[in-house]
Assembly symmetry: C2
Homo-oligomer: 290 residues x 2
């Protein structure tokens, strides 16, 4: 029996885009939204990303209990809190999935709290700014959607009738236009540290350093070109989301930062030597293949 009710917790950019993508892909059931911001909830409803909203604790509890699939689209620490709240409510035959940016912490928590009823996911999509107002059904088209299913005996043993919903949710994600990749949660977190979290921290550090050094010096504004704009664009990312990522992926992220610090030092010590050419050659090669 295909899902008839989906509850989306967190109707910001990602959650509301999932709602819009579901409807564009032909999901005809109810989509109930939960969000601590009444404005975001109202925007999601107005834009057709959800069909119902649940604001009071009683309505939220009912929306979770009646859902076939619950989608957690809030920052990582909030996902961990929701898992605690969902644990006593979610029954066999229901599925919880998420869109959290880091996965190991979430997988380990869900193994304990929702064994066999949780499908950890991460759509590699987003924008610099959040909010339901910017949501779009096409956000996930062409993007990679990673799943990090828990294959531990504890999780698999309990999977039971939630299994069919797992298959169904993967089908919806494919209909969103995403390319699905499965990998272990620790591998996900390690790769994301390199391709997403390190670039973010780098852009934040560069932007903060320039802010301290130049303030609003007009010369900087006049002279800085595309290179500067591009390398600092991520500097506008909100702390609220990245705090959770930094906390839940601290060791892999710290490792990539240390590696880059050493690389910059190497480059700095070789501004006049042939080693600088080697760095440019490697960088050129990277760009040719990626």
């Amino acid at each position: 029996m295909p899902a008839k009710r989906i509850t989306i917790i967190g109707t910001g950019l990602i959650g509301a885009s999932i709602g819009l993508a579901l409807r564009e892909a032909g999901f005809a059931g109810l989509i109930t939204g939960i969000d601590r911001s009444a404005d975001e909830l109202r925007t999601a409803l107005d834009r057709g990303a959800i069909t119902h909203l649940a604001q009071s604790p009683e309505k939220q509890r009912a929306a979770v209990q009646r859902a076939d699939i619950v989608v957690l689209a809030v920052p990582v620490l909030a996902i961990l809190q929701w898992l605690e709240q969902l644990a006593p409510v979610i029954q066999d035959g229901q599925l919880v999935t998420d869109a959290g940016s880091t996965k190991l912490n979430i997988v380990e928590t869900a193994r304990r709290l929702l064994p066999g009823r949780f499908l950890p996911g991460h759509p590699m999509a987003g924008k610099e700014s959040g909010g339901a107002a910017l949501a779009e059904a096409a956000l996930f088209r062409g993007a990679t959607w990673i799943f990090t299913p828990d294959t531990s005996p504890a999780a698999v043993a309990f999977s039971g009738s939630s299994q069919a919903l797992t298959t169904e949710w993967r089908g919806w994600v494919e209909r969103f236009g995403s390319k699905i990749i499965d990998m272990p949660a620790d591998r996900h977190d390690e790769i994301c540290a390199w391709v997403s979290h390190l670039p973010q921290m780098l852009s934040t550090a560069l932007s903060a350093l320039l802010e301290d050094t130049f303030g609003d010096d007009p010369d900087l504004r006049a002279i800085g070109g595309r290179a500067l704009r591009e390398m600092t664009r991520l500097g506008s990312s909100p702390f609220s989301m990245w705090r959770d990522i930094a906390r839940t992926n601290e060791a892999p992220l710290a490792h990539t930062l240390l590696m880059l610090e050493q690389r910059l030092q190497h480059l700095r010590e070789n501004l006049r030597t042939p080693a600088l050419r080697d760095e440019f050659t490697k960088a050129n090669n990277f760009r040719r293949t990626h």
Copy 2:
């Protein structure tokens, strides 16, 4: 008397774009091109960026001797070599200007070799790839064009009749659609280290590190999104140009690299502390004002 003959040395992206911009702005005189690559020279001629080309040493010498304005649009170390060659040839009433990426070294060399006959310039424009084939008259439209005139007594004393050509060249640059800023050469080099050279080295270091860590791992390709592409785009920049910049702006660039290394270390040591919020706040502020 306005200039009738302009000789452009280096007819790659910048040199050929200057030729096209001159013609679009109404320069009706002769534009002679000099380039060590016969292909680039031919492309520049075919595209109408130059009206004549000078390939033999004799013709090159004549093209320099007869020019009212000589424009050096080659990498910085090649500019320094050309200044040596031009010194015995250039007379009062001729002007040499350039488009080199660093200025202090060039200004000090020109003070000795071409006092009062050299106007140091730097158009803040370019593309990831070079070559006359990509040249366009509009390359400098809306861009900042920095001049770092030598105001030392030695330089000013000799300026004589080259002064009118200085004024004329500034006029052409304005007609290219550029915004002119004047500043001391050392200030130029320091700011460019921050807004151009540091972002470049950062992108090169990140790209090289990822190349060493992942090679052509397909997971990286599948997962890396806009953030990764953007932060590594400059990794495709050619060494040939950046070698000269690294050598002629070594101290300011090394300083910015060291500052960034320390900033990354600070961030790494504070992934769980309130200091991380401060970094994001500063980065957000930077983005709001630049």
